[in-house]
């Protein structure tokens, strides 16, 4: 097991190196010149030549050399800094990238986490219920609902929610986390206000991801229901409730734990489209803005952050798989 994990970790490092090379190459050939815009902005109306300042800025950031050797040098420089935990300064946000990311991560994490809890609370009981009455009315209804949840594009459902519930009916506030309130507002009112802003985004996230959980729970429960030990439980005369809520329920949870371990890392990466639609200052939205203007340090850090999370997610899934099911032997 330990040997397997070490092997996987080494492989992960190799994968991340590959991803970083591709990302760096892409970002460097990106001709969007944030620096030129910045130079023009700094020079402003003073009449000086922006090109001169631009050259100086490029040199400062090590971007002058656009040849292959230059790219390699730049990559090596970036890599050594990155490994040492120096992610550079974000050009757009004018602060260290790590600071910008970690300051806004709690927002993204909070939203995703609450939404995940909601998903599990709804999907697991409903999934078990559906499986117990397979091909029943509820099951059919839930299947169609699941499919709709999987198929609805985030932005379309989001736009519909904004249009009908926020604009037409005016029930919810949208745009950012908090409306401009008078200074002497109590903390309680502020919290209510923030919660009011977050109802629609959380609803959106929950509805769109609930389908996958529901489906997974249903399939698992069906499998468990056909297992021999359930027949034994019924044969020894346990009540149906006891069979379902004690024997089936617990065994259904086992594969779900595996899946959950895989999704945990993705909680930190932020929901880019949802955050952009509702203008929530989470890291997904920040990354979107940074990518539009070509903020190289932020883009590189954010994408590597996602890649690392993905790798951890896959690794966690595999490890949990072996932890919850003693029959699985890793590394064979």
């Amino acid at each position: 097991m330990v040997k397997y994990v070490i092997k996987r970790l080494l492989l992960s490092i190799f994968i991340l190196l590959g991803v970083s090379i591709i990302l760096y190459a892409l970002v460097r050939i990106m001709p969007v010149d944030f620096l030129r815009d910045k130079a023009v902005a700094i020079v402003g109306s003073s009449g000086a030549d922006p090109d001169e300042l631009y050259e100086r800025l490029c040199e400062a950031y090590g971007l002058t050399d656009k040849t292959f050797v230059g790219l390699c040098k730049g990559y090596w420089g970036w890599l050594t800094n990155f490994v040492q935990g120096d992610f550079g300064d974000s050009w757009k946000y004018n602060q260290p990238v790590s600071e910008a990311i970690f300051k806004n991560m709690p927002i993204s994490f909070g939203i995703s986490f609450v939404s995940l809890i909601l998903q599990l609370l709804i999907a697991i009981p409903l999934g078990i219920k559906c499986a117990c009455n397979q091909y029943g009315k509820l099951d059919y209804f839930a299947t169609v609902l699941t499919m709709i949840g999987i198929s609805f594009p985030t932005f379309f459902l989001g736009s519909l929610l904004i249009k009908f519930f926020a604009i037409d009916l005016g029930w919810f506030e949208i745009g950012g986390l908090i409306s401009s309130l008078p200074k002497d507002t109590s903390i309680f009112t502020k919290i209510v206000n923030v919660a009011w802003h977050l109802v629609l985004p959380m609803f959106l996230l929950t509805v769109l991801s609930i389908g996958a959980w529901l489906r997974y729970t249903r399939t698992n429960t069906l499998e468990v229901l056909n297992a021999d030990y359930i027949r034994t439980a019924r044969a020894k005369g346990l009540s149906e409730n006891s069979v379902i809520y004690k024997h089936v329920f617990r065994n259904t949870l086992i594969p779900l734990v595996t899946l959950l371990a895989g999704t945990l890392p993705s909680l930190f990466s932020g929901a880019m489209i949802t955050e952009t639609i509702f203008d929530i200052p989470g890291i997904g939205n920040m990354a979107y803005q940074a990518m539009l203007v070509g903020d190289i340090p932020f883009i590189m850090t954010y994408n590597m952050f996602i890649a690392v999370l993905t790798v951890i997610g896959i690794l966690l899934t595999d490890i949990m798989y072996a932890v919850v099911d003693p029959r699985v032997k890793l590394g064979e």
């Binding site: 994968i15 299947t143 198929s151 594009p153 379309f156 979107y288 993905t310």
Partner: protein, 359 residues
């Protein structure tokens, strides 16, 4: 495995149709028993499922809508939309001036300007324009039909190329194993860790600054999507082939001295086809979704080109979002229906291909 499946299914059929056993005497068995090929069994199971039929009907309807529909529209000439150049409804602009006159009264005066646009833009829904017209005077209903042509076909192109790459590389990896397998699978590991949407965003901004802002930008992006999207299919093909090549029929193929290419294409690939078809169908939906997402973020085809993604871009604009739902709700519904249909069909196919499913 395949043979077993056939036998099992046939015997099941026999059991179904020959229930009164005494009737059999003196009759030819073939008159009483219908022998179904595995393909027919799959088709039977597929057509029996209501949801997959619904998906199929939705798909056919969407394709007819977008490929035949524009022929009957007065606002399309072949594949290009036609502007409505009749003067549109006058646009009123009201300016208010507040001033205080000599006697100290506050007076507000209004200046009203009426301009008549040269194109019939922002037209209301009418029998002439079923969904109204857009900001340039193009008929939205016709655009919707034309948009389906690009949005629906682009998915097929991407998925077919992805499948070809995935099958070839995954097949090689699974069949030869060793360093080939290692190399291909490490590449797959890397490309499946690349975050897709951010990459699309980066490239799209790159294309924009290279002054590629028309429909070509969408095509290039879809090309890139193909390049990083074949990993899943390669993994699937490799996994299947790894288990298949150890089976007895492959030993038989080896003993009869078949060539490598014949073994792969004639004996291994047909056994992977079911899973491949299911994952292709499901993949089609996700590509349409990607096209639409890029469009919404204003990174695919520009607003005004008839693709569903570009049309839904209107929802990103607050004015259109609140004031002109006819701009973005219809394409949104079409996108959702298309994805839903592909998912229904894919799901139905998966169940139909699964020999364990009895219903």
């Amino acid at each position: 495995m395949e043979e077993n499946k056939v036998l099992e299914n046939v015997s099941e059929e026999v059991a179904e149709t020959t229930a009164p056993a005494e009737d059999l005497r003196g009759e030819n068995l073939n008159d009483r028993v219908r022998v179904l090929s595995p393909g027919m069994m799959v088709a039977k199971r597929f057509f029996r499922s209501k949801l997959s039929m619904l998906g199929l009907v939705m798909l056919i309807a969407l394709f007819l809508f977008s490929f035949l529909g524009p022929i009957f529209s007065p606002w399309a000439d072949g594949g290009t939309p036609i502007k409505d150049e009749t003067p549109g409804a006058p646009i009123l602009s009201i300016k208010s001036f507040a001033y205080i006159d000599n006697e100290g009264n506050e007076i507000i005066a209004y200046e009203m300007n009426e301009t008549i646009p040269s194109n019939n833009q922002f037209a209301e829904l009418s029998s002439e324009h079923l969904l109204g017209t857009d900001n340039n005077g193009y008929d939205l209903f016709t655009n919707l039909m034309l948009g389906g042509r690009i949005s629906l076909t682009i998915g097929f192109v991407v998925i077919i190329i992805e499948t070809v790459i995935g099958v070839i590389l995954g097949g090689l990896a699974g069949y030869f194993g060793g360093w080939v397998d290692n190399l291909v699978m490490r590449i797959v590991d890397i490309i499946s860790c690349i975050p897709t949407l951010p990459i699309m965003l980066i490239l799209s901004t790159t294309f924009t600054s290279l002054k590629i802002v028309d429909i070509r930008r969408l095509y290039y992006l879809m090309g890139v999507l193909t390049l990083i999207g074949w990993g899943g299919i390669a993994r699937l093909v490799r996994g299947q082939i790894l288990s298949l090549r150890e089976q007895d029929f492959m030993l038989a193929a080896k003993c009869s001295g078949l060539s490598t290419s014949r073994k792969i294409f004639r004996h291994l690939l047909p056994n992977v086809m079911p899973q491949l078809i299911v994952s292709m169908t499901m993949g089609l939906g996700s590509i349409i979704l990607m096209e639409a997402t890029l469009g919404f973020l204003d990174l695919g085809a520009p607003l005004g080109t008839p693709t569903w993604g570009a049309m839904i871009n209107a929802a990103a604009n607050m004015t259109y979002l609140s004031g002109y739902p006819n701009f973005w709700i219809p394409p949104g519904i079409c996108i959702t229906l298309a994805i839903l249909a592909f998912n229904f069909v894919g799901d139905g196919l998966r169940d139909a291909f699964d020999p364990k499913m009895k219903r």
